[in-house]
Subunit: 194 residues, 2 copies
DNA sequence: CTATTAATTAAACAGTGTTTAATTTAATTC
DNA sequence: GAATTAAATTAAACACTGTTTAATTAATAG
């Protein structure tokens, strides 16, 4: 059985994801297309469909990468076990910075939707869960004696709140009366909650 | 100068928005198209472009309607001046219910993005601001003596947090370990903040 | 060296938003 | 009332999109 040895499937997969990442970074989510990706890696769309089920799956993997990168910049902050409040402040600040500096890709993570009916493979919400879990360590220190369920809930509520502030602040929604910057909003949130 | 008297521009505008609303409600945001709208109102795409600048503008008006409807179900709750905490609980609960019962349209409000560079007309963030403002009345009662700036900030932080919880809970992000339901998360948020 | 089999492509399909030129239709002017 | 004029409306085109198909290329197996 003859296969063309230029690149392995794994290689093409990575090349495609790299190319897609660049396109999204430079042109934004809505300018991403299969033909652009294919052209960038020197193949045709057909090859893309050998490696990915469809564009949605490709984007899912790309978003997985973004979540991984976010994890990698936030995870090290958990080590600072001395001051949990400071730790949480740094985590939210890092999250915000990541969102700002990787705006297109971060947007894509939350804008992209699978067609009705299709739902995401298990590893995807797992990545998000792991991100949520990072908040549990400092929160456990802060609310000692509370159940793990309660800690997990608090972590998810806090992350979601920070996310909500970022999401609204970074889009059209809040450019009004000096509330366009998310930082003071997050400060206000943390002051109330910690 | 001769115009065809079947419908006025205003009428066509409304018919188009009605039709679009139905399509989004029944088929979802991503199945909305100019040709479908045109067909539904018995006209051609060209007519649509006489009345709207483009599809983005049409969607913007449609989202404006959705925001108006949300305002109309939340505004009456502000009247209950006796118990601000209860008032806020009811407002968030109503928000959540609205999001659940008008999922496609509510999604569209937050999924739709104008092309880079183009930004929304002033009346749009105004509508969002008015929605935020509804929270200020009960919050003012709750935090007496604080500056108007502080109240406004708190209102925006609270709304954004509730939105973040809704947004993550209603999409692929949290279907995990019993956190798929936003209600207990919002309860937790309010317990901490009020 | 031929047959097989898989990788790759070119082309097609059905859809999209938008623009253009052509065509109706109605009101205005002579 | 008929000819003119201008606006409303359409049909068709353009340049895209994601995806599928059949054809082609290249490498391996016998």
């Amino acid at each position: 059985m003859g296969r063309r040895g230029d690149h392995s499937i794994e290689q093409i997969k990575e090349m495609a994801l790299d190319a897609a990442e660049t396109i999204v970074r430079e042109q934004g989510y809505h300018h991403l297309s299969t033909r652009k990706i294919a052209k960038a890696i020197g193949y045709t769309v057909g090859t893309l469909y050998m490696v990915f089920e469809n564009l949605d799956e490709l984007i899912l993997y790309l978003n997985g990468r973004t979540l991984d990168q976010l994890y990698e910049v936030i995870e090290p902050l958990v080590q600072r076990q001395d001051d949990p409040k400071r730790c949480i402040h740094e985590m939210t600040h890092t999250y915000l910075n990541f969102a700002l500096q990787n705006r297109s890709r971060w947007n894509m993570v939350f804008e992209h939707r699978l067609p009705e009916g299709k739902d995401v493979p298990g590893w995807y919400p797992n990545k998000i869960s792991e991100l949520f879990n990072l908040l549990e360590t400092p929160l456990r220190q802060l609310h000692q004696g509370e159940s793990e369920q309660e800690i997990a809930l608090k972590a998810r509520v806090l992350w979601s709140s920070v996310h909500g502030i970022c999401a609204l602040a970074l889009t059209h929604s809040l450019q009004h009366l000096g509330f366009d910057s998310p930082e003071p909003m997050i400060e206000s949130l943390l002051k109330q909650n910690l």
